[in-house]
Symmetry: C2
Subunit: 453 residues, 2 copies
């Protein structure tokens, strides 16, 4: 069991109730749309061996209203500080490895892409990962046998959401490119026949749902509700929890699913419906929540309005989310019991964050965007600052071009760290590095064709 | 409601109990492995506008035992007559359209690939679909905007299994290539946010599971068991049926999942386990089966051995399967109540089959393989003939090169027709043709760049 129990009562109530959306006019050459292939990469650095990264740095892709829809990659909205921190953790781990003797002279590079929490964007990135090394254009060659093919990258860290990891893994399997996810916990990803090149540095949901059912049973809460995001992760967690609940004689009074995509027009109605259910089912005092952070935020906002007071069981992906624990009036909701992952020492990463403002932004669009957001939202504090950052779309930022006002907030980044995910991201990079070390024992890995993925 | 109820009692008992595997030495340049890209295509014909096809003509991909596994497309085994017939239905529909005035001078071509019921092989085919039109090599270009990109094919018919359709659809969505499946019924595929370019010519499982639950409730069978294949289709059907069963007060006594891939080593143990469960749970007289045909066959074989006698509720994908209804001693199993799809007039297809033996095999490897199998299994009848055909692997056929002994069996092909699937395949092609007609109203569609997918 790799899980530990965290009673999550951090409710720093720094709320200012009147919330202002500010539109500073700032310079922005960063949050650009995808015009050519290099625009598409979020952060990169060259190296003898390049590792790909897939992270949901934004929580939503912006879909145009026009019809017919076109096959074009769109801009994104909803900057996620904690996922941004994960991309930094990946970069930090690679820099540490390059500064160490682990790979003896072979340097690691990286290419990190934003999935915007959508499969389509992740598939486009994956197509680029599979493209031919050193080709003048980004092209993937169709082959019956990829044994001698040299792709652009040798391994992938990511993705965040299980649904995205699963889709991406189907494509990476063609070339058997190893993929190590620091966050996708769906049980099915352990199936080596379906996902032969998938690995992860967190435990599968099996352990978590078993622990939850056990906790619920031991606490005598045998009449509960479950709410999940309607994506592969939520659905598999629900299934897994259902089995565990049954064997612990815990009865599920209701199950509610909320649409995975924020662009889904039924989203708000369904959140209302779920809150209504919670209010009505007065016998249910415990609610298990397998949801994306963004969804928890939306649900809790409405639940607070309706004066709901329950015991909430939090799954790993939101149990330590600072943006949830710092919501105004979160304390009214009752008690949140969260499950999280074991973390390790991440002090070197905290040092890395302290020097982050000195880093150049040319090769890191996420960092550029963050700095821009810092300026836009500069005058706000904590929760409102948080909201301000996640409410800007890339389109908005691009329209506000001029006047930079750098205010660096170390404390804010540090406060948003979710240690478990940072640790598992660093672990994922190290796992790849150790595999590379094994491959490079008896060949010259400075040569990109030294080994195939 | 597009479903009709079929009480499936066709039990032509042509069994010969001693079953011989025969090894004729025959000529085979057909069932070749994938050495170059043209080997990879199963059947093709040129045309102004080319349509892709994805069908599980074989039920299994052969995985080599060696480790480490390599990124190589392998040969397949388990020739599926009824899926082979679907590929022929697609070809027949395209020929009919080309001989009609529907597209006024514009000819349709096709490129059909065998998925071998596995996602990886289907993804490889999809990669080829996405590759650039008229390029000297099969390459897919990475782009931020595919609005002006001309892919090799303009639309896809397929795939058979929902799990495969889902994965393929994720990749086709990049270029928004329309995909019309004649067989994938998983409810989730109706989600237009996830699968924007997916369509189908059969109803979603929602209608079927609702009808099943209703039938079970009306018949007073309120204590039942469910067995499903552990793939996306089985799991979604189970979920959907669970909801419908609950609202009809039908109680599910047990749920069993069997591994989707025949190459999974736990397969036989799990079949044994499921049969054991059925034998033990004496109160359960009705069993709902959401399984791939091949799995039903394996389950029933063991159930017959154990003298099981129950009422079986068959889902669309196996309710009309001839290879199941002609199993030896199938009558002992009890009653099979099957759900199937409405069919239309397929008499032109039956005429097409009559002339099939005159068709050239160069551009149709499936037909070539079938003819070869006819020779190998020539001396057997019905059920044993069926088994003989599905038990040959492509590797075996390749080893047996020489001595052709053509024995054409019209009756056999006709007996294996599952009218619902043949009809939905023809419908899928016509749906695509009508869409093309709409596109070509005001431009010259002989020019491949006349419209993008």
């Amino acid at each position: 069991m790799d899980l530990k129990l965290v009673v999550n009562k951090r409710t720093r109530n720094m709320a200012i109730f009147s919330f202002l959306i500010v539109c500073f006019v700032i310079s922005a050459d960063i949050a650009s749309s995808c015009q050519n292939t290099d625009d598409f990469v979020g952060a990169s650095s060259p190296g003898d061996i390049v590792i790909g990264g897939l992270f949901a740095v934004h929580s939503e892709m912006l879909h145009p209203e026009e019809h017919p829809i076109k096959p074009v990659i769109q801009n994104c909205a909803g900057f996620e500080i904690q996922v941004f921190l994960q991309t930094l953790a990946m970069i930090h781990a690679i820099e540490m490895i390059n500064n160490s003797t682990l790979l003896s002279g072979v340097t690691l590079g990286y290419e990190i892409y934003d999935t915007c929490a959508e499969v389509t964007k992740a598939m486009a990135s994956t197509l680029r990962f599979l493209s031919k090394f050193n080709s003048s254009k980004d092209i993937v060659e169709f082959k019956c046998n990829y044994s001698d093919y040299i792709p652009r990258i040798k391994a992938v860290t990511g993705a965040s959401y299980s649904e995205v990891s699963m889709a991406v893994s189907r494509l990476l399997a063609l070339q058997l490119i190893p993929q190590v996810s620091p966050a996708s916990s769906a049980e099915i990803l352990s199936d080596k026949i379906r996902f032969p090149s998938f690995f992860r540095t967190i435990p599968s949901d099996f352990h978590q749902t078993r622990a939850m059912a056990h906790l619920i049973c031991e606490s005598g809460w045998n009449w509960i509700g479950v709410i999940a995001t309607d994506d592969d992760n939520g659905r598999f967690a629900l299934e897994s929890f259902g089995v565990q609940a049954m064997s612990n004689n815990v009865c599920i009074a209701f199950k509610e699913l909320l649409p995975a995509y924020l662009s889904d027009k039924t989203f708000h109605t369904k959140v209302d419906h779920a809150v209504e259910k919670i209010v009505k089912e007065t016998r249910v005092n415990v609610i298990v929540v397998f949801m994306r952070q963004f969804h928890v935020l939306k649900l809790f906002k409405k639940a607070i309005e309706r004066n709901v007071n329950k015991i909430w069981i939090a799954s790993d992906n939101w149990s330590t989310a600072v943006k949830i624990s710092t919501m105004p009036n979160i304390r009214q909701l009752g008690t949140v019991v969260g499950f999280g992952f074991k973390s390790g020492d991440i002090s070197t990463f905290q040092d890395f964050l302290k020097n982050l403002h000195e880093k150049p932004t040319e090769n890191n669009k996420f960092l550029g965007e963050y700095i821009m957001l810092l300026s836009v939202c500069a005058h706000l504090e904590y929760y409102d600052f948080q909201m301000c950052i996640s409410n800007q779309s890339q389109d908005d930022l691009m329209q506000n071009v001029e006047n930079k006002q750098h205010i660096w907030r170390d404390d804010f980044l540090n406060a948003n760290i979710e240690p478990g995910f940072i640790h598992s991201t660093i672990l994922a990079v190290y796992a790849i590095a150790h595999a590379i070390k094994g491959q490079c024992k008896d060949r010259n890995c400075k040569d990109p064709s030294a080994f195939t993925p």
